[in-house]
């Protein structure tokens, strides 16, 4: 078979060497090129503090993108990520501020609220046979509405100090959200790439029939995945809430767009079967660098939204183009 390595002269051997780490080569090249371009365009880009800024801004999106990778990798879809994140933050702030309960309960409230939303998604998808697209789109509306109801449409201010530390603390100069994000990513990477659960997730997204024939309990797997996705959205909600020191019912608006884009750029197949957290992290960093760079260049945020949308479509185009070339159907 002829070497059909698209763009440039990457041989199959070089390609596999990189892909052993479950990363798509192109995304790494794009990230480095983007970073190089930004450091030429802006004198402020290349610094440790800006690097930490990018990581901090990426931490919320990054956690959501991990959730997106699992669900999309399994052939599903979770459009409710952003809304569930917003609801979770409000729930956590409500518990910690309005109810005056200890910080730990606030953290727990965030994650459990998210997991519960995901659990409901999973139950409806697997038991009522409503397509995931519709179920999670519905949840997008429900969770956002519920966040506004609980908070009365107002931002809940004044988190307790310990909770605040989770968002704004800087042990050894590293923001706590970055630490939580990186640890979550490492664990998630190992789960997806090296455990039976992770392999079954991708196999399920590849071919549900094959997974079923192999004896994998498909519905159960999906329910766990949606619950996990919701729980991660809850974690993202907690990180965001603690960082901005408030439970904002509009937090996470349109974040699912960026999260799904990050996952797709990172090599997750939109229709399932392929994906890695390491790749997704590169995708999330691309989104982070893009946003950070556009900020430094003082580009209006309206244009950033457009840029993200365009990147998503472009990423899926490239993905589909390659897939058509590489596999026989």
């Amino acid at each position: 078979m002829a070497a059909t390595a698209p763009p440039g002269a990457w041989s199959r051997a070089q390609r596999t060497a990189v892909e052993r780490f479950h990363v798509r080569l192109e995304s790494l090249v794009v990230l480095l090129a983007l970073a190089a371009a930004m450091s030429i365009l802006s004198p402020f880009f290349l610094s440790v503090s800006n690097f930490l800024n990018i990581l901090l801004a990426t931490s919320t999106i990054g956690v959501l993108a991990i959730a997106a990778t699992f669900v999309i990798g399994s052939g599903g879809l979770d459009l409710s990520l952003g809304s569930v994140m917003g609801l979770s933050g409000v729930a956590g702030a409500f518990v910690a501020v309005n109810l005056g309960m200890p910080s730990a309960f606030g953290v727990l409230a965030c994650i459990l609220t998210g997991a519960l939303c995901g659990y409901v998604n999973g139950q409806i998808v697997t038991r009522a046979f409503v397509p995931a697209f519709i179920v999670t789109l519905g949840m997008l509306g429900i969770a956002r509405g519920l966040a506004l109801v609980i908070s009365g449409g107002r931002v809940i201010y004044g988190l307790p100090e310990w909770l605040l530390y989770l968002g704004q603390g800087r042990p050894w100069g590293i923001p706590v959200p970055v630490i939580i994000f990186v640890v979550t990513a490492i664990v998630a990477h190992c789960v997806l790439a090296y455990t039976r659960f992770g392999r079954h997730t991708l196999a399920l997204g590849d071919s549900e029939g094959a997974a079923r024939a192999a004896g994998i309990r498909v519905e159960r797997q999906r329910r766990i995945l949606y619950t996990l996705s919701g729980g991660l959205a809850g974690l993202a909600g907690m990180l965001f809430m603690a960082r901005i020191n408030s439970g904002d019912p509009t937090a996470g608006l349109n974040y699912e767009l960026t999260a799904i884009t990050a996952a797709i750029i990172g090599g997750t197949n939109l229709f399932g079967g392929r994906g890695s957290i390491l790749g997704t992290m590169i995708g999330a960093l691309i989104m982070g660098v893009l946003q950070n760079g556009l900020n430094l260049l003082a580009v209006q945020s309206y244009y950033q939204q457009m840029a993200i949308g365009a990147v998503l479509i472009l990423a899926v185009f490239i993905d589909q183009y390659q897939l058509r070339k590489e596999t026989r159907t």
Partner: protein, 258 residues
């Protein structure tokens, strides 16, 4: 010695009755051909054996034990394997991932993190299995979707044979293969028989069925219409049972030519 017994298997999908009480038994090391027209219920019957479908009524026993309540994973564990017509492969995953899907061996990473899939062992054993089948794959680490039809079939067969099955069900294993590949599948069936593994072969190619089976069961309108000993039957009789009397002569003549 009877390995598998089905009795009174019924299955319907909504208003459509597919199986109306099928009886079937397979002995250890026996090769049974299952033939019948399209829509006779062959694939449905096989999927009730593997557990993909749950029979509405009836009994399935393996080695005398009732297995009706077991799910597909559990039925694989007790030795029932099926090679599906569409092969049921995860095409973006590599050879070992497919062969070991659902049964990945695990180890402890760094000696203390449990539940880590032992990919090196999977690759090693997959390569051995492919070699034992006498097949050649371009690379064991490539997505199976990039292989040819015959190569993909090899992976599907390897998956069915790796865990020492007692019964292998093959649904149209030769339908999409070249002449030489058909011969190797038939050889494989004979080899399984000699190892004491029972095989149920579903095929429209009656020549293949007559060549390799001990017994032929004809399914018609959701019932086991005939149970023929291969050595004592012929193409005409089999075709007659499949089409059910009418137009028999014409159909038989046609098959004989083919």
């Amino acid at each position: 010695m009877t390995l598998l017994t089905l009795s009174g298997i019924r299955k319907s999908f909504g208003a459509v009755d597919v199986l109306h009480g099928v009886d079937l038994s397979v002995a250890a090391g026996e090769v049974v051909g299952l033939v019948g027209d399209n829509g006779a219920g062959k694939s449905t019957l096989m999927k009730t054996i593997t557990g993909i479908y749950r029979a509405d009524a009836g009994e399935i026993r393996l080695d005398g034990n009732d297995i009706l309540h077991l799910d597909p994973g559990q039925r694989r564990e007790i030795g029932i394997e099926m090679i599906y017509q569409d092969l049921s492969l995860a095409k973006q995953q590599d050879v070992a991932s497919n062969i070991f899907l659902g049964r990945e061996p695990v180890k402890k990473a760094f000696g203390f993190i449990p539940g880590i899939v032992d990919k090196a062992r999977m690759d090693r054993e997959a390569a051995t299995m492919i070699q034992r089948l006498g097949a050649h794959l371009p690379s064991i680490n490539r997505a199976v979707g990039s292989f040819s039809g015959g190569q993909q079939q090899t992976v599907a067969i390897a998956r069915a044979l790796t865990f020492n099955p007692k019964l292998v069900i093959m649904d149209e294993p030769t339908a999409a293969l070249a002449v030489r590949e058909v011969q190797s599948v038939l050889d494989l069936i004979r080899r399984l028989k000699s190892e004491g593994i029972a095989v149920i072969l579903i095929s429209h190619r009656l020549n293949d069925v007559l060549a390799v089976t001990d017994r032929i069961v004809v399914l018609r309108h959701g019932r086991a219409a005939a149970n023929l000993e291969t050595a004592k039957t012929n193409m005409n009789e089999v075709v007659a049972c499949i089409v059910g009397g009418n137009d028999m002569a014409a159909a038989a003549a046609h098959e004989q030519q083919g």
